[in-house]
């Protein structure tokens, strides 16, 4: 017996649920576990607008909850990181789960100019220059 799945009573996806918090001169964004393409695109716009508005020196993308990092998501992250660099700030991707890291590597993903950190704490340290900057590709 085949079960057919549909999204019942679709909720409008707005991207509003993603919080973009500013801590001193860093923008901290926590990604939800399974963001759809629209959410990811809205998020990118929100982040770029916030960076322009607050003149922050870093963007920390907390992806510790993210379970699936596919080529679309990776492309937007890499693009965002590049734009953030053009705006004079730095992007740090924090808290990638081991299973996601392994999958991303095998898929062949790169994160452009973004730096990586084990967790948000270390990411904030990196942004505040307390840590040596290492370029990731």
């Amino acid at each position: 017996m085949i079960e057919q799945r549909h999204l019942k009573g679709r909720e409008p996806i707005t991207g509003e649920s993603i919080s973009v918090i500013k801590i001193r001169d860093v923008l901290l964004v926590a990604m939800p576990p399974d963001p759809d393409d629209t959410t990811i695109t809205i998020l990118q716009e929100k982040v770029l607008a916030a960076i322009e508005r607050y003149q922050v020196k870093g963007l920390v993308l907390d992806i510790s909850a993210v379970q699936t990092l596919d080529s679309f998501f990776a492309r937007v992250v890499a693009e965002t990181a590049q734009m953030v660099v053009l705006m004079g700030a730095q992007t740090v991707i924090a808290g990638m789960q081991p299973s996601v890291a392994i999958t991303a590597t095998q898929l062949g993903l790169t994160l452009g100019g973004a730096l990586t950190a084990l967790n948000v704490d270390l990411a904030l340290e990196i942004v505040s220059d307390a840590f040596q900057r290492r370029q990731r590709s």
């Binding site: 085949i2 079960e3 057919q4 799945r5 549909h6 999204l7 679709r10 996806i13 399974d34 759809d36 393409d37 629209t38 379970q67 699936t68 990092l69 596919d70 080529s71 679309f72 990776a74 492309r75 789960q97 081991p98 299973s99 996601v100 392994i102 999958t103 095998q106 898929l107 062949g108 993903l109």
Partner: protein, 137 residues
């Protein structure tokens, strides 16, 4: 047609990509794949579902369990009635994309899964079948 199909998900709009991921994640988790393997399967599914949405407009994903020769596994079938792929070899080249993407979807999926078969006819449609076997110790 194909025996043992457990579930099928219609891919009509973008949010269906999330539904495909959700369906595949639940199934793979239930069948005791390791977290990393679950992530691999879900990511591959996300790539193939997005390809259908982007290039064929609509299609369907089905999955079933495999058993034989003492091995157990999961099979995902992605079928569409889209334009088909003219040059398969080219489509599997890393970096090749007709939509400004990373061109990682097809070659990456091949690396993430254990087996991948693709049947495409120009003007008729494309069927992609991928399998992942349970790890045997």
């Amino acid at each position: 047609m194909i025996d043992g199909i457990r579930e099928e998900v219609a891919i009509i709009d973008e949010s269906d990509i999330i539904l495909v991921r959700k369906t595949v994640r639940e199934a793979a988790t239930k069948f005791n794949y390791s977290l990393t393997d679950v992530t691999r399967i879900v990511t591959a599914a996300s790539e193939l579902a997005r390809n259908i949405f982007l290039y064929a407009g609509s299609g369907v994903m089905r999955w079933r369990l495999l058993e034989g020769n003492g091995a157990k596994g999961m099979e995902l079938i992605f079928e569409d009635r889209g334009p088909g792929i003219t040059d398969l070899e080219q489509a599997f080249q890393e970096g090749y994309s007709t939509s400004g993407g990373l061109g990682l979807g097809l070659p990456g999926t091949q690396r993430l899964m254990d087996e991948m078969e693709i049947d495409t006819r120009v003007g008729v449609g494309t069927t992609v079948v991928v399998r992942k076997w349970q790890r045997r110790y």
